[in-house]
């Protein structure tokens, strides 16, 4: 097949740059399942994210996409290899990290403003200051009228906005996102992607965005990592040279976007098929 020069440039994994925001170097992670088997979640995994870069990770179900995020937070430790965040090895949960979850991780017993203020309060900011900051962030995600509402009174899209404000208020240098918009309907998801890119362009944090939706990955990212069917390792890396700022509602009709998505999909497809046939065989 012929690669056009060069909307989607296939990158070779060169030596790790020293100043990368996130550097996962040749990591293998194994763990023992409750019934005593050794499971390899990911193997020989190498990934770097430069400061201010938006990286997306796509791959078939169960290939260890979320595992890569937990390596960066320090909630999981590599069996071999090492993980560095902002130049230093991961020991504890770094204060530089923000995490947006797939599931609803808001505190349902706290109102919107109490949810958003949680991060600064946990980190010891005085109450008045934390609430002032929270009010500012709620306004930024467009929920100014809903400060006093509880999460169950909001729609799925609004709850995601609260989750974004809750994460961004800590001004994370590194933003990890685990299929954050997968539960939203198409229109809401498009709006949230725009919201995310807007916030990101102001903050210039380094992002790792895990998704199973290839089009979402291409639309958002500077760099797309394609993983193999589990145990996951990096199959290929693509640089996405679509101009920014990008408008999510329009970008999917951009011929260049379509072309890139096609190229990467050809690469991803066999892994997806492999992953599915394996799931059908083993039953998990």
């Amino acid at each position: 097949m012929q690669l056009q020069p060069m909307a989607a440039e296939k990158l070779s994994q060169a030596a790790l740059p020293a100043d990368a925001a996130i550097a996962i170097d040749d990591v293998t992670l194994r763990f023992v399942t409750p019934d005593g088997h050794m499971m390899t979640a990911i193997r020989d995994f190498t990934m770097t994210v430069a400061r201010g870069e938006f990286a997306c990770v796509v791959g078939p179900t169960g290939c260890g996409k979320s595992t890569t995020l937990n390596l960066v937070t320090g909630l999981l430790r590599p069996t071999t290899g090492n993980v560095r965040v902002m130049g230093s090895p991961v020991t504890d949960i770094s204060r530089d990290i923000g995490f947006v979850f797939q599931a609803d991780a808001l505190f349902p017993w706290r109102s919107v403003i109490d949810n958003v203020a949680a991060g600064p309060l946990y980190r010891g900011m005085p109450k008045a200051q934390a609430y002032e900051l929270a009010r500012d962030w709620i306004a930024r995600v467009g929920l100014g009228r809903f400060e006093k509402h509880y999460p169950h009174q909001l729609s799925g899209g609004m709850r995601k906005r609260v989750a974004l404000a809750q994460t961004f208020i800590n001004q994370p240098k590194i933003l990890l996102m685990d299929e954050p918009f997968s539960a939203l309907d198409m229109q809401t998801r498009t709006a949230m992607q725009d919201e995310l890119l807007g916030l990101w362009s102001q903050q210039k944090s380094s992002v790792v965005f895990v998704t199973h939706d290839l089009e979402e990955a291409v639309a958002l990212a500077d760099k797309v990592y394609v993983l193999t069917a589990g145990p996951g390792t990096v199959k290929s890396v693509y640089r996405i040279d679509l101009p920014r700022p990008r408008v999510m509602a329009d970008i999917r009709y951009d011929p260049k976007f379509v072309e890139i998505a096609k190229v990467i999909w050809n690469d991803l497809r066999e892994e997806v098929q492999l992953g599915q046939s394996r799931t059908l065989q083993t039953g998990h």
Binding site: A105, F107, Y122
Partner: protein
Amino acid sequence: MTAISPTTSQAAVRDASIAVAEGRAKARLRRRHALVIGLRLAILVVFLGLWELGADHNIIDPFFFASPSGIWDQIWVWVTEGTSQGPLWVQIYVTLEETFLGFVIGAVGGIAAGIILGRNRLLADVFSIYIKIANSVPRVVLGSVFIIALGLGMASKVALAVVMVFFVVFANAFQGVREADRAMIANAQILGASPFQITRTVIIPSAMSWILASLHVSFGFALVGAVVGEFLGAKQGMGLLISTAQGAFNANGVFAAMIILAVMALVVEFIITRFENYVVKWRPAPFNEQGT
């Protein structure tokens, strides 16, 4: 491609018909509510009426099974003239005090133990076997032990109420802590919460529904503990009143004391529900709230 837009005429007519339909639906709801209340009252009247009639015609022997009028007379006598052990209010007060003390001590202990063991897997694994053993002992039997050890006063009843309450609340608090959402805990952790902050702001609120559910049940248990304790040996209280009435073959007295206890339990249940609604006001309303 042509866009098709609906006509905007007749909007006023539509609004008016919606208002009429709304009014009808509201009236229907009101009628249904009245019907439910009416049927409830009817059942009460029929039940008491049949009982009274049966007692009058000796179909139901009032000596063994009392009669509504007899029970009412008994309550009236207790209220106006006092019981054989002193004024009725004192008996109610004593029993309530024992119940309440036992309930508070047992609930606080149960919540604390549930949270500590729920948060610490080693402690949970070590102690779970002992808690199972202690829980399998029929706790009412402990009443005799407490009376021997703590005497006829208030302490033995409070102790019995405590053990009745503790295990129920403990089991629920423990379960509630264990069921706390993993994503929510991870979220708090990454937002910067310390383990203590996680316990205070995530674990306890999410276990709260479980704990409150157990408080409803366990208040009843505390009351059982206090009354059984008084039954086994006491100088005052509703349990003693029942036991005295039983000794005198006074069926009306037993039923009268029972009804007073039921009213006490209902009042406290009402207060707990109010407290619950206040604490968990963040919760969405359940589906079938109306009509009750």
